[in-house]
Symmetry: C2
Subunit: 187 residues, 2 copies
């Protein structure tokens, strides 16, 4: 296994709103930074920010370019390196096509904070990543989580982060950090 | 061991700036939310936001009250529960006094992204927490990390999050999530 066998996608559509309806969410600046820094620290291949909304794509592009080709990157080269792995896509299909162009046919792993039927355990996925020669795409949802159609499109649904607590309301930034560490650290 | 044997402190003074000088940093809204949600999810006792600056303390108080006693808490009860464990302190000494009032004499554990002499391993601290009847205070720094005087005041310095990578620039939010998960999860 190489850590670069993994990419992350952060979805802003289709996701659930507070009332359980499918819609889109706005991009959060710190989601771009935190998950890019996490991805670079763990040596992941790509970090995809997924939104079909043109104004949101333009915003992400502007932020990423500030930290890569413009002034921010000169001031903070570490940040430049992290933001340099961000890619902007319209949809999960667009992400798949992007990976296919690199000869990678990804295994789609969707994530959830709510236990679902037939979800796979963290340890099982860790072994699959170690054993397998495939590329794995970990899909995270913003707002109230991924819409059902993403679970249906996925090859596997990963179990929620288990903490033994009665409360599980991690931010997507924290969940991403914990999932990637559990999957890739040597423990 | 009970998970409530641990508290977290996020320091905004004394921390290092980009040039390695000691100073203070501004509070970031998502640091309040993300680490409060993490702390509540893992059942920690208190989450201390530490800054001596009056305007910053007022700002944190306003944000916390929005999500606890005011409108935000009515709209989002989960967030209310998370933000309800935030406490605002002037300094690490103030944090210690706050814990002492509850009869807890904390073991101070400072954290760093740069390997330091005599730091303890994550696994060693995990065992100490399991074996010990004491209260542990995990101290995180904002900006470019904790100032030397905090390391000197601490009982132990925790090794950086090891990822086997040549790059380690996690956000404090991601580092907090990974450290707490490594210390408290059952793996």
């Amino acid at each position: 296994m190489s850590k670069s066998d993994i990419s992350i996608a952060l979805l802003h559509y289709p996701v659930l709103n507070k009332n359980g309806e499918t819609g889109s969410s706005a991009v959060t600046n710190l989601d771009i930074h935190d998950i890019a820094r996490l991805s670079r620290t763990y040596g992941l291949k790509n970090y995809y920010i997924v939104t079909p909304l043109q104004d949101q794509k333009s915003l992400v592009k502007k932020i990423v370019e500030h930290w890569t080709i413009n002034k921010g990157g000169q001031i903070n080269p570490d940040r430049k390196e992290a933001l340099g792995i961000v890619k902007i896509c319209d949809s999960i299909d667009d992400v798949k096509n992007n990976l296919l162009k690199d000869g990678l046919s990804p295994v789609l792993i969707s994530t959830t904070a709510v236990k679902k039927k037939d979800s796979i355990e963290m340890e099982t996925l860790k072994e699959m990543i170690s054993d397998n020669k495939k590329h794995f795409l970990i899909i995270l949802g913003t707002a109230w989580g991924l819409a059902e159609e993403i679970f249906e499109k996925s090859d596997y649904v990963l179990e929620p982060v288990e903490t033994g607590s009665d409360y599980n309301h991690l931010s997507v930034r924290s969940a991403a950090a914990i999932i990637i560490d559990r999957l890739l650290s040597d423990r």
